[in-house]
């Protein structure tokens, strides 16, 4: 409680202008969107059914993608943070590949793995009749591919910060490793998991390159908001700005509510 004022008083003055500059740098483009937005035609743009479809699809896919990221990413983060094996640092570097890969290349890479003729996709098709490209599931796959590193890095960092003696304490109290992981480690790193999930959700929501390459673009099944914005840009840049603002408002709104929920009870 008494820590807050103390901390702000200790802020070095030299950081303030730089922080202000960073804030301006981040917010000016958003301000540009707001200023240039065609406010008069906004109701018309928003009432278009394809926009509602795209928005709904975007929120659904980004949420599913972040669920996939959490379910698969947390164990991977645990492996990277805790297991000791040869090539771990190489593996850690490889995990960040989707971050440096241009998203379109990521989409092509997904084809080679999970496409109709891909290494794994071929068998998915033959054995289960599952084809991922050009489906909503494909959108989730593409978004999760691009967003997973955010979760893994965030959770791995949190896991490294955990005092491992908590796990020792749990073991001496009779808890198995699995019980300890669920009831001790995971709750302690929960803020890191939430932060990572939010980051990956935001990344998935804005994902364009890998999605349009791997999942394509079809209204109602694979056309997410970023694709909608991109196509609108071809035809009517003003409408593209309107759509971007919609995506922006919705995502900022969701993040603000999440923050309230999660951090409101914590601080």
């Amino acid at each position: 409680m008494s820590r807050e004022p103390e901390r702000s008083a200790g802020l070095p003055a030299a950081l303030v202008p730089l922080a202000g500059l960073a804030l301006a740098f981040l917010l000016l483009p958003v301000l540009g969107l707001v200023v240039r937005a065609p406010w008069r035609s906004m109701p018309e743009v928003l009432s278009r059914p394809d926009v509602a479809d795209a928005l709904r699809l975007s929120l659904l896919c980004a949420s599913l993608a972040s669920v996939v990221c959490v379910v698969l990413g947390v164990p991977l983060a645990w492996l990277l943070a805790r297991a000791t094996f040869r090539g771990r640092s190489l593996l850690r570097a490889l995990v960040t590949v989707p971050l440096v890969l241009p998203p379109v290349v990521g989409g092509v890479a997904l084809f080679t793995a999970l496409g109709r003729t891909g290494i794994v996709g071929r068998w998915l098709d033959q054995w289960f009749g599952i084809t991922l490209p050009f489906t909503t599931a494909g959108v989730v796959v593409a978004e999760a591919f691009v967003a997973m590193p955010f979760l893994v890095i965030s959770v791995e960092g949190a896991l490294r910060g955990v005092d491992r003696r908590f796990e020792d304490a749990a073991a001496t109290l009779g808890a198995t490793r699995w019980y300890t992981f669920r009831r001790v480690t995971l709750p302690i790193v929960a803020p890191g998991v939430v932060a990572g999930a939010v980051l990956s959700w935001a990344r998935a929501l804005g994902e364009f390159g890998a999605t349009i390459t791997f999942a394509g673009n079809f209204p109602g099944t694979t056309r997410t908001m970023p694709v909608e914005v991109y196509l609108a840009l071809q035809r009517d840049p003003a409408a593209a700005i309107a759509l971007s603002l919609v995506l922006l408002v919705v995502s900022v709104g969701v993040l603000a509510v999440l923050r309230e929920r999660w951090l409101g009870s914590r601080v």
Binding site: F166, A171, L173
Partner: protein, 359 residues
Amino acid sequence: MSEDAAPNGASLEADLYVRRGSFALTMRFGVAAGEVVAILGPNGAGKSTALRALAGLLPLHRGHVRLDGAVLDDAAAGVRLPPERRPVGLVFQDYLLFPHLSARENVAFGLRARGVGRAAAGARADVALAGVGLADVGDRKPRQLSGGEAQRVALARVLVTEPRLVLLDEPLAALDAGSRLQVRADLRRQLAGFGGATVLVTHDALDAFVLADRLVVLEEGAVVQAGTPTEVARRPRTDYVARLVGLNLYRGVAHGTSVTLDTGAVVASAHHATGRVLVAFPPAAVTVHREQPHGSARNAWPVTVVRQEQHADTVRVWLTGPLDVAADLTPLSVGELRLEPGAEVWAAVKAMETMVYPS
């Protein structure tokens, strides 16, 4: 005396050999059911290593651990029961209460991990909390507890699982001086009610003397002395123990009632002995004089005052001469003798006050 400090019919029987880098711990000892043994030693002596090995958190390189006849560790046979399957509870130095759980949930943790239902575990946790005098803190998070309360919650968390062996790592080190006294007294009472074996690790002699039935003194990974607090205090075998218990300790060779110390000084004693011995006497037995004393004190040495420390109602004066001596005097006599660093005086000890025992 051998390093084997195991009494007959011990509940815990430990023969530990643990290597960690260049450090090696070698330790054999036992603890009877209901008995409290303190492992006393300076920092880095291997005390915590011993506890972690007993808890199963560190593997033994050699040796074994048996508890109530059941094998927990047997390095030769390749047996190593994992920590969660040992009936052993460990209270960590900084307690390590799980920060996301309330005090009640912390105490219930071990029961829940063993499959006890939420309600039943919560009820037993409440009983355990009441048992350590904390019936009303169940809903608090660890960060809302005082140091003493956290210590008791940690103890309740271990005791509720009904272990056969309780390990306490520096149970009072994290507390401020004010709460130490009370917590130490509480801890003593709670351990007295516990039927299993208890091993506590401390570097604080007072904790060890108050809480333990027997002491095992560990230095540089090896047992240097073991026995009841009284035995250890009376007859320290190393400078560390002597300093700890506040005794003047010397090594020398005895001829009858006279001991020639390794430094050359001669100490007269009331007991006959021969061969290499240790000589000890308490600082309170030392008297200080301006002139060479005459009378019943057979031991008198010309010494120089090095420094002095004010204690509660005595002043400890450090003297050097043919031998180094600590003396406890009243403030009045310090004033009368006009003692100050550099002052040249005589130190005397009655032969009756000295203890001589084989080294």
